[in-house]
């Protein structure tokens, strides 16, 4: 994946980038490539932070990814939008869990439990 400058991208471009990164993360998980996954996680963080700091909190643009066929895309979109669309984001996590979409179902369950227990507070 080429280097990118989040500040120079439109919100739509950032959402597209988010999608590309999530799909690459899914491949990395399938290959047990933890080095690649970690790099992609950091890149996704850069996209998330850029969307968040824009006027109106542009993370809500990720909501359109809730219906993506890939579970990693839905998982990451839901986690990233917990602060801006909490009910819909939680529902998306619940669906991943209920469908046993492993390994994402494991993260969805862990996040739902953390939200319930208050050990994770979305911001």
């Amino acid at each position: 994946m080429s280097r990118f400058d989040p500040e120079a991208m439109t919100a739509d471009q950032l959402v597209d980038r988010f999608l590309t990164i999530a799909l690459a993360q899914d491949d990395a998980l399938l290959m047990n490539d933890t080095v690649a996954y970690t790099r992609l996680y950091e890149e996704m963080d850069a996209v998330r932070n850029e969307l968040k700091r824009r006027p109106g909190d542009q993370r809500r643009g990720l909501v359109r990814l809730y219906s993506h066929p890939n579970a990693q895309v839905r998982l990451k979109a839901a986690i990233t939008t917990l602060a801006v669309t909490p009910q819909a984001a939680r529902h998306t996590l619940q669906v991943i869990s209920d469908r046993n979409e492993y390994p994402q179902a494991a993260d969805a369950r862990g996040m739902l439990r953390a939200l319930h227990e208050g050990t994770y507070v979305p911001s």
Partner: protein
């Protein structure tokens, strides 16, 4: 040749608790691959080459993709393996990954009777525990070992070593550095539940 395992008469687990049944669509044979089709999602279904991939890495990737797909939609494993003969080698691993969650005692007892497709998993990760000075009597104790699906074992190992929002962007392994045995056990058991290995 693409063999499409169709959804026309295939039920998801939601529809059919028994896991449904794949039916082949004889009209969709197109090229040297078997594609598994599903109602939702549809475009992350694995493609299975009829010829055995040359590398272990690629074979594992495909077999794990099949196992994931089956965990979501069910179906008869023999139907798929029967169309890509090399996948028979992965059959024990795929089948094991589809196990229903078991009790902790069942998982512990199974350690003494290992089977193909399964690996011994340490509830508290052995490497970090050893490097932080926990005694072998704890690390290798009967209480700390369970027999789980090889693919689930890989998933959990990857989960431990990759960043996670729930841990503030740290990996669970990093989060647990310096933590007590009890906290490591708590996280270890939770991960087994979350990955569908251990009954809640």
């Amino acid at each position: 040749m693409i063999m499409r395992i169709g959804r026309a008469r295939c039920d998801t687990r939601e529809d059919n608790p028994d896991g449904g049944q794949w039916t082949s669509d004889g009209n969709s044979i197109q090229s040297g691959r078997v594609r598994l089709a599903g109602a939702l999602p549809t475009n992350d279904t694995p493609e299975i080459p009829n010829e055995k991939p040359p590398t272990t890495r690629e074979r594992n990737r495909i077999a794990r993709a099949v196992a994931r797909w089956m965990s979501r939609y069910g179906g008869r494993i023999g139907r798929i393996v029967g169309k890509a003969y090399w996948l028979y080698e992965e059959y024990p691993n795929i089948r094991a990954s589809l196990d229903s969650p078991k009790t902790l005692e069942e998982l512990r007892q199974a350690v003494s009777n290992p089977q193909p497709g399964y690996e011994t998993h340490h509830i508290v990760e052995q490497g970090p525990a050893r490097s932080e000075g926990f005694p072998e009597s704890l690390i290798e104790s009967r209480e700390n070992k369970v027999l789980i699906s090889k693919y689930k074992h890989w998933d959990i190992s990857t989960w431990y070593s990759t960043p996670n929002e729930k841990f503030g962007g740290a990996s669970p392994r990093d989060y647990l550095r310096g933590k007590s045995w009890d906290e490591r056990t708590r996280i270890g058991l939770q991960s087994l539940v979350d990955h569908g290995v251990l009954k809640p």
